[in-house]
């Protein structure tokens, strides 16, 4: 069973979002997603300053056998990207909710947060995918 922290929000395409105390949002991919992809060999993060709309392809995670898009859970401006991943993509595998974060957004539409899944709903998505 994969780890699904209760304090995060999720997309059914397996991204997580964490609202920080300053109102910015940190985004990554879930433990389930990293497990399904296998060992990552490359991560392409978005450029700082880029503005993303909700659902836009924002980053690419590449394993030996597949390259998958990571979608932005919210609209907003990219204010930071995890540059450590260019040399150590395996951080996404070893610590998907911590050192393996992908990028941070300054959200432009707080209402969109309400549309994301909570941990319980995401747990169901993962369980359904297994069947």
């Amino acid at each position: 069973m994969s780890n699904i922290p209760a304090d995060l929000k999720y997309l059914d395409s397996h991204e997580w979002a964490r609202v920080e105390s300053d109102g910015t949002v940190t985004i990554g991919i879930s433990d389930h997603a990293q497990g399904a992809l296998g060992d990552l060999v490359f991560v392409e993060v978005p450029e700082v300053g880029k503005s993303l709309s909700k659902g836009a392809a924002a980053a690419v995670v590449e394993s030996v056998k597949a390259a998958s898009d990571v979608y932005s859970p919210l609209s907003g401006e990219v204010i930071a990207a995890n540059d450590a991943l260019s040399g150590s993509p395996e951080l996404v595998n070893s610590d998907p909710y911590g050192a393996g974060w992908l990028f941070k957004l300054k959200p432009s539409n707080a209402g969109e947060l309400q549309q994301l899944l909570d941990a319980k709903a995401y747990e169901k998505v993962v369980a359904d995918a297994a069947h």
Partner: protein
């Protein structure tokens, strides 16, 4: 006999499973007006014997002319061993096998090919090849747009001394992708890029600058200055090179202070016979920092569980069968058979052999130019240092001269008068190591005869 071995029973079972009444029904979404009813223009099938005879007749129409035409594809000696080895059953396939790792020999060959191309071009990585030189340039332009994320213009600067077919193919392939091409003129009388026109673009957002070396006129561009200018102006550099010329000249990886970013070209001079425009193969090499944006695949060397050497597909995650519409290219293959020939050709010739071929071609071209320029009315258009091609000016219409030469069994070169009208009656000629001194004399005397009979 159809090649798809499904029986009627299997077909009806499959149709039943998907709920379609017939195979035709699967094509319902294509409007009737767009569907071809019959193939009336296609003749009936011929037997193998009839096809064999037809092909021999067609082949004999070509004759065996004495060839002085280059312009992107070159007649070189290919040791008999090359194609004897290539056509062995173990190698004889155009494709990387789908169960790639089950074909270690093919993968090792591709790995050796990549190593040779990286070393020849002075770059860190090579892919397993592309279709041809022109489409490789188109791919390089698209790749530069992906790789250069700070540049927003998707603007590619090319010199007018780039092979004109390379430019038209690049435009055609990239159409609809919002790339723009800015074509810069050559210096009149010199035949190389007018550097001041490049400098005039200073400060503008340019994604990449293309340099062909030697250029379409066979001349040497100031590649160091152009490369450094491009990098100083935040543009990537794409080199288009004849791989054979790299046996003599500085590899693109060493141009300027940093070297270029992407190298492409046509691999035909490396063991691939001339054949009505193809199939040839394109090559592409680049820096490691751009490897994720390079189209195609890379073969890597690794070890198995027991520590034994093995070869594997290491970079295919961004190809079409995995990345679909977001793949690095919609061309998802390589030219395996021709790459096999090139790898064997390079192995047989070795570095010294390649250098001898290139140097002899250069020497024979220089002798040819000297001999032809002695003919009254024939002038050398550009004086600069050249590889194995040169532009000559004739006193009369080039197409008529070429026709008259063809009657004497000589292919005299490429008529430039439509591609570069400002050059007047201009002819691009080439001599490779295949042209002996006697061949050069034959051409010179034939051309003198042809020109004398003209008013």
């Amino acid at each position: 006999m159809p090649f798809i071995p499904h029986t009627e029973t299997e077909i009806s079972e499959m149709l039943a499973a998907i709920g379609a009444p017939s195979i035709d029904a699967l094509f319902d979404e294509i409007p009737a007006a767009l569907r071809i009813k019959s193939l009336a223009a296609i003749p009936d099938a011929l037997s193998e014997m009839e096809v064999g005879r037809l092909m021999q007749q067609r082949a004999s129409q070509d004759g065996r002319p004495l060839n002085f035409l280059g312009a992107g594809a070159y007649e070189h000696h290919i040791p008999a061993a090359v194609w004897a080895i290539v056509t062995r059953g173990e190698f004889y396939s155009a494709y990387t096998p789908y169960q790639a790792e089950a074909s270690q020999g093919t993968l090792q060959l591709l790995y050796e090919y990549q190593t040779m191309m990286s070393s020849l071009t002075g770059m860190e990585v090579s892919n397993a090849s592309l279709y041809d030189g022109a489409s490789a340039l188109a791919e390089a332009c698209l790749m530069s747009v992906r790789a250069h994320r700070r540049s927003k213009s998707a603007r590619i600067v090319v010199p007018s001394t780039l092979n004109p077919t390379y430019l038209s193919v690049s435009r055609a392939v990239t159409e609809g992708q919002n790339l723009s091409f800015t074509v810069l003129p050559y210096e009149p009388g010199k035949g190389t890029l007018q550097f001041s026109r490049l400098e005039a673009l200073k400060g503008e957002d340019i994604t990449a600058v293309v340099i062909q070396q030697p250029n379409f006129f066979g001349l040497m561009e100031d590649v160091d200055a152009i490369t450094d200018w491009a990098h100083a102006n935040n543009a990537l550099v794409i080199a288009v090179v004849n791989p054979l010329s790299l046996a003599l000249f500085k590899p693109p990886g060493e141009w300027g202070t940093k070297g270029v970013d992407i190298v492409v070209g046509d691999g035909q001079p490396l063991g691939v016979p001339l054949s009505s425009g193809g199939p040839y193969f394109g090559f592409m090499t680049t820096r490691m920092e751009h490897v994720r944006q390079m189209p195609g695949r890379i073969i890597g060397r690794t070890v198995d569980l027991d520590g034994k050497q093995g070869f594997t597909l290491t970079l295919q995650a961004r190809e079409q069968h995995i990345r679909r519409s977001k793949a690095t290219s919609n061309i998802c293959t390589n030219q395996g058979l021709l790459v096999t020939a090139a790898t064997i050709h390079m192995s047989l010739l070795g570095a010294a052999g390649l250098e001898a071929v290139a140097a002899t071609s250069q020497r024979q071209t220089s002798k040819l130019v000297e001999r032809l320029a002695r003919i009254p009315g024939v002038k050398v258009v550009f004086d600069g240092y050249r590889f194995h091609e040169a532009v000559l000016q004739l006193p009369t219409k080039v197409s008529e001269v070429l026709e008259a030469l063809a009657k004497r069994n000589i292919v005299g070169g490429l008529d430039l008068s439509k591609l570069y009208p400002e050059l007047g009656n201009a002819l691009l000629v080439c001599a490779t190591e295949m042209r002996t001194d006697a061949d050069l004399d034959s051409y010179a005397s034939a051309l003198a005869d042809v020109l004398e009979r003209k008013p």
